[in-house]
C-alpha cells in the first residue's frame, strides 16, 4: 500500500501528511476555509506576539499609574493597549522585585497568554520544562543561563487552570535614559515567562 510505503520511507513527514489530509478533507467538505486557517496562522505570526507583552512591560516601567492598574486590574490595563482575547481571558501580572523572581509553566498542558506573548516556544511545551521547573526551578533557570542569588525567592506559577500569567521584570539598571519604545526592545519573550532577565 502506497501510504504504508510512504510511512516507512519518510517517517518524518507522516505527521505532516496526516495533518494536511485532515485540512484537505474538511476543505473538500466545505466545512473549513483555507483562508480562515491562513488568517489564524498569520494573526499569530504577525499581529500577536511578544512584542505586545514588551510594550506592556515598557509602559509599566515608565508609568507608575499604569503599572499599578496592570497589577491590580490586568485585563483592563491590557485592554488599554488592545491586548485582549483568547487565552487572555483571565490575566495575572506578577512583578519581579529584588527579593522575588517569578517563572511561569503549565505542567498539565501548554497554557500561555497568547494576546501578550503569542504562541509558546517549543521548550515551554516540552516534557522536561513541564516536569522540572516546578520541582527544580533553579536548575532549569541555570540551563537558560540565569543564575539567581541564593536569597531570592523563586515563585513558580503553574498556570494549568484558567488564569494566564505575565511576568513583569525589573527595569534593568542603566536604562534610566531610555524611552518607552527603546525599553520595549530590551524585553524578550523569555523575560516575560521568567526564564531570562532584561
Amino acid at each position: 500500500m502506497s501510504t504504508e510505503h510512504h510511512h516507512h520511507e519518510r517517517p518524518a513527514s507522516a505527521a505532516a501528511l496526516r495533518a494536511q489530509a485532515l485540512e484537505a478533507l474538511l476543505a473538500e467538505k466545505g466545512l473549513v476555509s483555507t483562508d480562515a486557517i491562513d488568517a489564524v496562522v498569520t494573526y499569530y505570526e504577525q499581529d500577536v506576539g511578544p512584542q505586545n507583552g514588551a510594550r506592556v512591560v515598557a509602559r509599566a516601567w515608565v508609568d507608575d499609574a499604569y503599572r499599578e492598574r496592570l497589577l491590580e486590574h490586568p485585563e483592563a490595563a491590557l485592554d488599554e493597549l488592545g491586548f485582549g482575547g483568547m487565552e487572555g481571558h483571565n490575566m495575572a501580572v506578577v512583578a519581579n522585585s529584588e527579593t522575588v523572581h517569578n517563572v511561569v509553566v503549565c505542567t498539565l498542558c501548554s497554557c500561555y497568554p497568547w494576546p501578550v506573548l503569542g504562541l509558546p516556544p517549543s521548550w515551554y511545551k516540552s516534557e522536561p520544562y513541564r516536569a522540572r521547573v516546578v520541582a527544580e526551578p533553579r536548575a532549569v533557570l541555570r540551563e537558560f543561563g540565569l543564575e539567581l542569588a541564593g536569597d531570592v525567592e523563586v515563585r513558580v506559577w503553574d498556570s494549568s487552570a484558567e488564569v494566564r500569567y505575565l511576568v513583569l521584570p525589573l527595569r534593568p539598571p542603566g536604562s534610566e535614559d531610555l524611552g518607552e519604545d527603546e525599553l520595549a526592545t530590551l524585553v524578550t519573550r523569555d523575560c516575560m515567562i521568567g526564564t531570562a532577565l532584561p
Partner: protein, 222 residues
C-alpha cells in the same frame, strides 16, 4: 485523569534546552493544524470533551511518543469523529490521495476568516470573586487526595499538600464536571501558595514557592 500529561515533578525527560526549542513550531503543517483545531472548535465541528481534555485521553505511551502538534492533530480528529463531521477512514483515504500526488483541495470563505479573528480577540473572563468564598487570603488549606477518572485541573503533585490561600481569583464552574456536560455551579477559584518543602520534601535548591489556581472543590481546611 492521571495520565502522562500530568508530569509535574517527573524525572527522566532530560534537559530543557534543545536545538530549535526557541521556535513555536518548525514545520508548516504545525501552525495549520493548531489553527484548524481552533477553527473546528469555534465552528462546532467537534463534539465531546475539548481538545486539551481529549489529548489527556491518549494512552501514556502514545502521548509521550507523539510530538506536541501530533497530539493536536489527534485531538482534532477525535473530536470530529465523535461529532460525525468526519468518518473513520476518511483521513487515511485523503492521505493516500495526497501521497499519490493529488492537488490539495482548497475552500475559500472570507467570512469564516473574519469570524475566526473576531473570536480570537474576544475576552470571556470567569465570574468575579464571590463575596462568600469559603476561604480567604492567608487561610491554610489542604488539597484533597483524589484520583479522578476524568479531566481535572488538580495535578497529582499537590494532592494532600497543605498551602495558603494567596488570593481569590474569581468564580468558575468545575472543569471536572463541565468537560462532560455535567451540571455545575460557579465556585470560588483560589491561587494557592505552597512551600516547596511541603510538596517535594527537602531539596538541593533553596526553598521556593509554587502557586496554582485551584477550584474550591479541590480543597479542604488544613
Amino acid at each position: 485523569m492521571d495520565g502522562a500529561h500530568d508530569m509535574g515533578g517527573m524525572h527522566g525527560f532530560g534537559t530543557v534546552a534543545q536545538p530549535g526549542g526557541e521556535l513555536p513550531y518548525h514545520e508548516d503543517w504545525e501552525p495549520r493544524v493548531f489553527a484548524l483545531h481552533l477553527l473546528t472548535g469555534f465552528e462546532g465541528l467537534g463534539a465531546g470533551p475539548g481538545g486539551r481534555q481529549t489529548r489527556e485521553e491518549m494512552d501514556p505511551a502514545s502521548y509521550l511518543a507523539a510530538s506536541y502538534f501530533e497530539r493536536w492533530t489527534w485531538s482534532a480528529e477525535q473530536r470530529m469523529l465523535r461529532k460525525g463531521t468526519i468518518a473513520h477512514g476518511e483521513v487515511e483515504a485523503m492521505m493516500e490521495r495526497l501521497a499519490a500526488g493529488e492537488q490539495v483541495p482548497v475552500h475559500a470563505d472570507p467570512a469564516m476568516a473574519e469570524r475566526m479573528i473576531g473570536r480570537l480577540q474576544r475576552r470571556a473572563p470567569m465570574d468575579p470573586p464571590p463575596a462568600d468564598a469559603r476561604f480567604g487570603p492567608g487561610e491554610r488549606v489542604r488539597v484533597r487526595r483524589m484520583r479522578p477518572d476524568g479531566h481535572t485541573r488538580c495535578p497529582r503533585y499537590v494532592r494532600g499538600v497543605a498551602g495558603t490561600i494567596e488570593v481569590v481569583r474569581g468564580a468558575d464552574r468545575l472543569p471536572d464536571l463541565t468537560t462532560y456536560g455535567a451540571p455545575a455551579q460557579p465556585e470560588p477559584v483560589y491561587a494557592v501558595r505552597f512551600a516547596s518543602d511541603d510538596v517535594w520534601g527537602p531539596s538541593r535548591e533553596p526553598p521556593f514557592t509554587i502557586l496554582l489556581d485551584l477550584w474550591d472543590s479541590y480543597l479542604e481546611p488544613a
